[in-house]
Symmetry: C2
Subunit: 257 residues, 2 copies
């Protein structure tokens, strides 16, 4: 089956979008057919790949609402999928996605809508990756229900550890009730400075707790990673020799192994 | 009247909590009586000030639900307010706050609950500061409705600019419908490196757009700001000579001028 992976962490600004974009583009550079679904109403993954959605009739929100109304999804899927310059297929987000919860209050099984939408197209791809918003609301729950593996970017700072226990609790509830196959594939340290004492401390605590789920590769702080999105490209495409891109390539090798 | 200020930006990880904590502690060091209300279910502002809430019967969620049910608020306010080691009074957040929306779907005027809760105690304080979650949901809308001024931390990076137009749209809707006195007090650059070309570009764009609302003080990247919360103190208290603390002191001088 197709690997379907969500990049999640409700803590803000930890590198979810940067990770989702560079993994997707890295797989595409290896000739894999990859779909990135941007589930964050901020739409950073869409913009970062140069995909700015203009067709208001075909958005991820429409796709999820059609799934809720048991409508056929094929046409909307075709309409809202775009190919980015990096060769990654993208279903972009739009800001109206933030209102999803309001539409669904009477809907049965609202956690399963994204899973249904993806099931209609998953055979066409070799990897499917979700970017998620900084929350544990209905959009993230849909991601946890739809995917089989999670990649959790973690900044090696104090607040980062705080949120992980909340995330693990939510993952356990989803495993129990909606998605028994869900597992954490990799915890990845982002913006990590291995020389700093506090980063070393966080890294050690994560290693002790997560063991093999900790990625060997860590992502250093690297200006190219934050500059690339302003050009509408991933760093692995635009700055392949940069320390940031090389770190994501190492992570990709670990994931493909 | 008492200055009531919200620290808001739906982009994640831009330094909202770090700003809220260091402003509050900076005011307290000057002998002002300050209340910090942590409206983020992650509870980082509470933890960062060493306040970890244990009384499950007195939380911000209970306070807001009591306001929705027209119950008296005085007792719950007294029960949930704690004083931190830095001399800041705190109403801490708890993770159940994330479920607020679910409780309120039938409630009339759910945007006004925080304003009502604050009205019951505002005379006791000289400054009231809200920390907000990385979203524009019901908690942030309550903050925008309750306060008169906004402080918007902005990282000088590409994605930061994307989110500002969405924030401004939301602020305008709240000004029109719920809170005509709401205004942006200061835009503050955080984790700012004045030598980097892309940071200079963002800074110039913000200056052009916001003019006088841009703070003269910017907050540099400084390890002490990210280490202080692990001790349960603000950086202005624990590392007053650090570049990060000094930058927040300059921002405080601007706000008090
Ligand atoms: N390794 C890195 N080195 C330098 N900058 C980085 C790195 N990773 C991410 N960034 C930058 O840090 C900021 C936060 O990263 P990003 O937006 O990817 O995080 P996020 O978790 O998706 O945020 P949100 O919670 O808002 O969705 C961005 O400006 C990004 O460009
Ligand atoms: N000027 C700074 N220099 C260095 N580190 C900083 C600075 N400001 C914030 N940090 C660190 O960056 C991370 C993000 O900051 P913070 O948690 O305050 O942002 P936030 O906007 O409140 O995030 P969220 O969106 O999750 O609520 C934290 O680990 C914090 O310690
Ligand atoms: Mg993101
Ligand atoms: Mg915060």
């Amino acid at each position: 089956t197709v690997p379907i992976v969500g990049v999640v962490n409700q803590k803000g600004g930890v590198g979810k979008t940067t990770t989702a974009i560079n993994l997707a583009a890295g797989f595409a550079r290896r000739g894999l057919k990859v779909l990135l679904i941007d589930c964050d109403p901020q739409g950073n993954a869409s913009t970062g790949l140069g995909v700015t959605k203009h067709n208001p009739n075909a958005t991820l929100l429409k796709l999820l609402l059609d799934a809720a109304d048991e409508k056929p999804l094929d046409q909307t899927l075709k309409d809202c999928m775009l190919e980015s310059a990096d060769g990654v297929f993208v279903i972009p987000a739009s800001s109206d996605l933030a209102g999803l919860d309001g539409y669904l209050s009477q809907s049965v099984g609202k956690e399963f809508l994204l899973k249904e939408a993806v099931a209609a197209i998953e055979q066409e791809f070799e990897w499917i990756i979700f970017d998620s918003p900084p929350s544990l609301g209905i959009l993230t729950i849909n991601i946890l229900t739809a995917c089989e593996g999670l990649i959790v970017p973690v900044q090696s700072e104090f607040y980062a550890m705080e949120g992980l226990s909340q995330l693990l609790k939510t993952v356990q509830s989803v495993q129990k009730r909606m998605n028994p196959r869900l597992k954490i594939v990799k915890i990845v340290l982002t913006m990590h400075d291995p020389r700093s004492r506090s980063s070393q401390q966080v890294s050690k605590e994560l290693q002790d707790y997560f063991g093999d789920s900790m990625a060997n590769a860590f992502i250093p702080r690297n200006i190219r990673l934050s500059e690339a999105p302003s050009f509408g490209h991933s760093a692995v495409t635009l700055f392949p020799q940069s320390k940031g891109a090389e770190a994501y390539e190492r992570l990709i090798e670990e994931l493909l192994a």
